[in-house]
């Protein structure tokens, strides 16, 4: 039997996601588990502030600690009972986690957001770590300088060819990594920070209660819901969700969640028969949660979720769509709970009728006057307001397809690795006051419905007939790549890879406006990681 076959049993998330489904109550606590399982290699320091060698000199996210424990199991012979693993990860994430401010800019890797091109990668990280990892992977750890240096030594031992890789072999990579990069990491991402001391000292809000939710799933579209969160054990909740997709069909589900580090919400929920994961961050006051929800077995199929603590108070979360054309009638879906039905979008936009109202949403039909002033409007629902909620526009001047850079991976065809899809949305812009599209005063119209097509990205792709082999896109903007394996029809039996452009076209009255994104359909990823 191949050694990894058992590892497939639970594909992603491990104890982090599954804490949501299982009790974390245990007779044994984190330090005791460390003492009983880790001291063959680690040692007790005698310092109560940092009691264990190596372990006490690091802080990580729940997924970061899960990754460490996975490595200890697969590479170092650690064997832990599942319930002890859950308790230990919870203990480490709670006592040696990251403060909200320390994760705020890098949450995309925790959320498994696809097709992210990282911005503002520190120079010393770009030359040292990003050949293999996201910049966020190191940015979501805090260590002493000595521990950052030990991480370099670990890589030299575990990946002996690391000095020979492109971008490494033409310079003294090891010396630079050890004496420059690790030192800068120790300065930029140190073990002790004010943000962490402050967060540790702060009382943490309980998250039980009624939440007004809005979100998006690529194959189902926008949705609104009320999520009831009931306390189970400490930092562990039962969840019930009820709501509607934009087309009016019902959404129902139930699950559970665990909160790590006082704000890291990890939920496992079954919605309409589909297993989903929630990776949210609660705000420091516990009144808002934001993050991503995705299909457990197809993580590309997910989208942003915004939740506002409602309980019995009137709560306004979002409105879709977020634009209305001059002279047009438009149905607006307003996500929120306990809302009045008195809706206003200012002068020149008239509420024609309230179509429906339920616990999770208010659906209204509005009409913009042909001469209604162009620009962003504040939405008022009773006393609740949402600024820059709906844009009144004259015409769609340009369309951007998001994500602009993307990959999909071939798969399936009888092999064990599924296809990795890619999904797209069209964002519209009006030209703004200067009448020129592509300038700073362009007016964002939010997501607009589009039709979808593909074309060869360049002459090479055209010559290699990539369009025929690499995959197809459906009416919802979901691209499904081609089959895995060698393709004898192609030159050199090339895989069904391809270099494509995704074209999204928005109808605007009699006009059509298109935008394009780049899609590389490429080969499988044979290493699945909790943090890429």
């Amino acid at each position: 039997m191949k050694n990894h076959s058992m590892k497939r049993v639970i594909r992603f998330g491990g104890a982090v996601a599954f804490l949501g489904l299982a009790s974390t109550a245990s007779a044994i606590d984190g330090p005791q588990i460390i003492k009983e399982n880790c001291l063959l290699c680690h040692s007790e320091t005698g310092n109560a502030e940092a009691p264990f060698s190596r372990i006490s000199q690091q802080r990580k996210t729940p997924e970061g600690w899960q990754t460490t424990i996975n490595r200890m199991k697969s590479q170092r012979g650690l064997s832990l009972k599942p319930e002890h693993e859950r308790v230990l990860i919870k203990y480490l994430a709670d006592h040696q986690g990251l403060a909200p401010a320390e994760t705020a800019d890098l949450r995309y890797v925790l959320e498994r957001q696809p097709n992210v091109v990282e911005q503002n990668v520190p120079e010393h990280v770009a030359g040292t770590c990003t050949g293999c990892h996201s910049s966020a992977r190191s940015g979501l750890q805090r260590r002493t300088t000595d521990e950052w240096q030990k991480l370099i030594h670990f890589h030299m031992g575990q990946v002996p060819t690391i000095e020979y890789l492109a971008g490494h072999r033409d310079r003294p990579w090891f010396q630079i990594a050890l004496n420059e990069t690790a030192v800068k990491m120790g300065e930029g991402y140190p073990l002790q920070t004010q943000a962490w001391s402050d967060w540790k000292a702060k009382p943490k809000a309980a998250l039980n209660g009624q939440w007004a939710v809005s979100g998006f799933v690529p194959d189902k579209g926008e949705f609104t819901a009320v999520m009831s969160v009931m306390p189970n054990q400490k930092d562990n909740y039962i969840t019930l969700i009820n709501g509607h997709y934009a087309d009016g069909s019902k959404l129902t589900g139930s699950g559970s969640a665990t909160v790590f580090t006082g704000y890291e919400w990890r939920g496992a929920i079954v919605i309409d028969g589909r297993k989903m994961r929630q990776v949210f961050a609660a705000s420091e006051d516990g009144k808002q949660m934001a993050g991503r929800m995705y299909l457990k077995n197809d993580e590309v199929m997910g989208g942003r979720v915004l939740a506002e603590k409602a309980d019995k108070a009137a709560t306004l979360v979002s409105v879709t769509p977020s634009s209305i054309k001059q002279g047009a009638s438009q149905t607006l879906i307003i996500a929120g709970a306990n809302l009045s039905n008195k809706v206003s979008l200012g002068n020149g936009v008239k509420v024609e009728k309230v179509i429906s109202q339920s616990a999770d949403r208010l659906v209204v039909q509005v009409k913009a006057d042909a001469k209604a002033a162009i620009g962003q409007r504040t939405l008022s629902v009773g006393k609740q307001t949402l600024e820059n909620a709906v844009a009144v526009y004259d015409q769609v001047a340009r369309v951007e397809i998001t994500p602009t850079e993307s990959i999909a991976r071939i798969g399936g065809n009888g092999g064990p690795i599924p296809k990795r899809k890619s999904t797209y949305r069209a964002v519209g812009y009006a030209a703004g006051a200067d009448g020129k599209p592509g300038t700073e005063d362009d007016l964002s119209l939010g997501y607009l419905p589009a039709t979808w097509s593909l074309k060869a990205f360049d002459e090479v792709a055209e010559h290699d007939n990539d369009l025929k082999y690499a995959g197809s896109i459906d009416a919802k903007g979901i691209f499904t790549p081609g089959d895995a394996g060698l393709n004898p029809e192609r030159k050199m039996s090339t895989n069904n890879v391809g270099n494509l452009a995704v074209v999204g076209t928005v109808k605007d009255g009699a006009n059509s406006v298109s935008g394009e994104a780049h899609l590389l359909v490429t080969v499988q990823d044979f290493v699945k990681e909790l943090i890429q």
Binding site: H4, K73, T130, C132, S134, Q524
Partner: protein
């Protein structure tokens, strides 16, 4: 031990380059600085930016300079830890990965990914 590894690595590097003459030509044509700039623009999280050759994306943001079909050179990459975050390295971390599949281009359906170990 180290000498052995280094020799193996050099053998693998030679092997990779012979598979990838096109990439070598392109490498020669474009200065390293230019290539790094292109790669920085094109790297999507999860893809390696080790690009001699690349795994998912070549140095120019396309596919033309990758080893294709990838099954033909898969084990050459795995042996050398060339992209250890994308292809399991059989030198160190995952020595038994695909040990039962001698010919990747014939039996690719038997090759699975390494998943995060869990309970």
């Amino acid at each position: 031990m180290h000498m052995y590894l280094h020799e193996e690595v050099l053998k693998q590097m030679k092997h990779l380059k012979s598979f990838n003459k096109k990439a070598k030509m392109l490498d020669a044509a474009v200065s390293q600085g230019d290539v790094e700039e292109v790669v920085a623009m094109q790297s999507v999280v999860g893809c390696t930016s080790v690009n001699d050759p690349g795994w998912e994306v070549d140095p120019f943001g396309g596919l033309g300079s990758l080893c294709q079909p990838m099954e033909s050179d898969l084990y050459g990459c795995a042996d050398a830890c060339w992209w250890p975050a994308q292809v399991p390295d059989t030198m160190s971390s995952h020595p038994n990965w695909s040990q039962d599949v001698a010919k990747a281009d014939e039996d690719w359906r038997k090759i699975d990914a390494i998943f995060p170990e869990s309970e």
